[in-house]
Amino acid sequence: MSPGNLATTTAPSGIQFDGVSVAYGENTVLDRLDLTVEPGEVMALLGPSGSGKTTALRAVAGFVRPASGRVLIGGRDVTQLPPNQRGIGMVVQQYALFPHLKVKDNVAFGLKAHRTPKAEIAGRVTEALELVGMAAYATRYPRELSGGQQQRVAIARALAIRPGVLLLDEPLSALDARLRSGMLAELARLHRELPDVSILYVTHDQVEALTLADRIAVMDRARLQDCGTPEELYRRPRTEFTASFVGNANLLPVTVTGPGRVDLAGAALDVPTDTAAPGAAATLCVRPHLVGIGAGPNALTGTVTEVQWRGSTHRVHAEVAGHRLVADLRELRDPPALGDPVTLHFASEDAVLLPAGTAPEATESPKKPQAVASG
């Protein structure tokens, strides 16, 4: 363990989870997490509530103590360090601005705690507030600010201590939809201006993860399910869970009949089968917006069970070979009616074959060999 001054570092420092498990009594809330956030990378931890993503973040911050495993920040084992000696910046859902301190004193709090020379503090506070566009509000109290403004101050406060690592725990979930997309762009800009800061971003919102992250770690039931760039996870998900959680997906049970061919309840389909051996059961994943109406390759005929008009698109549900297939179609001039026969199709290259059944074990391969470093 290296003592010394780490909190004011601006040197790039990544985060490493090394077999980190967290349990409350019998209940394991984080199961052997292995994950590396490269210096300067934005890593989104994406998952439903209770998936362990917030626990993972709090293990980095030092608010939960792992039952086993190590947490490293900048290559240094911090597992046994108290939170105040870890040199991290953190922003939580409810901002946690100190209500008894003015904006500038909130931002100065961490600097004073780090014994930054007095002469430096004022300048660093202004710098941090300017970064988030809140310099004009320095003498206000938090209660006098809107939610979005409080959010910016919370970010400024976390960045003022120049942490190598910034932890964001559902930072946008308390904002309304319009503010959220604005803040999303703002966060992206901040990261461009501070390219050396590694960001661990916990969210349950796939749009936030897809927009902001260099890589996404998908979590479910205390385990890491998948990890990759947003594009990889979206285009080539490796598990049913990832497929359905990152974007919508039609998941159809099929049997592999031969190279490049599968069988869906009697209908033969041409899809890439490089991951499955003939005779194996598999799950076919097709994104609804990649399904077309009318004749085409991999055509399937069925009955319309529901039609929803969504403005720019029509969502058509059809019963096909005993399974439901959903298609998001550009607004149709002449949409089908309930009970109509309908033919849907999709291109072979738009289909992905997944291992059948439940989500695979997290231990399978959390660190993907093809994982792309930060972009």
């Binding site: 363990m1 001054n5 780490l6 570092t9 040197a11 420092s13 900048g74 240094r76 084992d77 360090l81």
Partner: protein, 302 residues
């Protein structure tokens, strides 16, 4: 399990501020040690005296230099004064508690669910009322129902009789009235808090389904209020068992409660062993009930 075989990775971290910080101290004071100083002070100022009271209760004056004996207990338990005091204390406390519960429930019900302008002021008045000492109530009752007070004065003025009809102040009934008056706010406060948690939409739905006020009170409000009633009631019971000021101020020779007996044995008769015996009995009674109150109020989440 933690991977301990990997070489320890102590990467250099660059620093930008002068190293004025102390090295990290890993030997921190355990958290329980911080609780020790106040506990010690309390032990010295409260537990130690209490222990001495218990010890004294086993030490009759004849045995002042050590040695324990049950004589004080047998003597005190045999005296009629003590037995009467015990009965009076218990029935007064139970009666006052029941009175406070009924009165407090009705009053809180009106404040919370039949709101009127000034209701907030009444609630605040109740808070203020709680911060006054109990004996003020007896003092006021002396003016109202005392032998030369306003009620009797008005009666003699109107009827020409030699004396008025109100003499209950020096009887247990006077104490009961004063205790109900003083302790009702102790029931109202938790009740008002509980009522403010109750979703008023429930009442609206209930009445839209055809329930009258009585049915709503019985089936919607009362179940919600039960924990608060239980907690408030048991607190009042304990406080009534321990009440001294109200009884002292009535100046009635006929009303002797346990705390009153402790006072008269110790201060007026200087019989400390006897006073300590009564004190031990009173403690056992109150602390037992208070533990019950803690359990109840923890269940109630109060």
């Amino acid at each position: 399990m933690a991977d301990t075989t990997a070489p320890s990775t102590t990467a250099p971290t660059s620093t930008t501020t002068p190293g004025r910080r102390k090295a990290v101290s890993l030997t921190r004071t355990p958290t329980w040690a911080w609780a020790l100083p106040p506990v010690l002070v309390l032990a010295l100022g409260f537990l130690y005296p209490l222990a001495l009271v218990v010890r004294q209760s086993f030490t009759p004056e004849s045995l002042e230099d050590g040695g324990a004996s049950l004589t004080p207990y047998t003597e005190v338990f045999a005296s009629t004064v003590f037995r009467e005091a015990l009965t009076t204390t218990v029935w007064l406390a139970v009666g006052a508690t029941v009175g406070c519960l009924v009165l407090g429930f009705v009053l809180a019900l009106v404040i919370a669910f039949v709101p009127f302008p000034g209701g907030k002021a009444v609630a605040r008045f109740i808070d203020v009322f709680l911060s006054f000492p109990s004996f003020l109530i007896t003092l006021a009752l002396l003016f109202i129902y005392g032998s030369v007070g306003m009620a009797n004065g008005a009666w003699t003025g109107v009827t020409g009789a030699a004396e008025g009809p109100f003499h209950f102040l020096t009887t247990p009934w006077g104490v009961l009235l004063a205790e109900i008056t003083y302790f009702t706010p102790f029931v109202m406060r938790p009740l008002l808090a509980a009522f403010s948690q109750l979703d008023t939409a429930q009442l609206e739905v209930a009445s839209s389904l055809g329930a009258g006020p009585v049915r709503i009170v019985r089936q919607v409000i009362l179940p919600e209020a039960l924990p608060a009633l239980a907690a408030g009631g048991s607190l009042v019971l304990v406080l009534c068992l321990n009440e001294f000021g109200i009884v002292l101020f009535t100046g009635a020779k006929g009303v002797t409660t346990l705390p009153m007996l402790v006072y008269s044995k110790a201060i007026l008769e200087s019989d400390y062993p006897a006073a300590c015996v009564v004190a031990v009995v009173n403690i056992a009674l109150s602390v037992g009930l208070y533990s019950l109150y803690r359990v109840v109020s923890r269940r109630a989440g109060a």
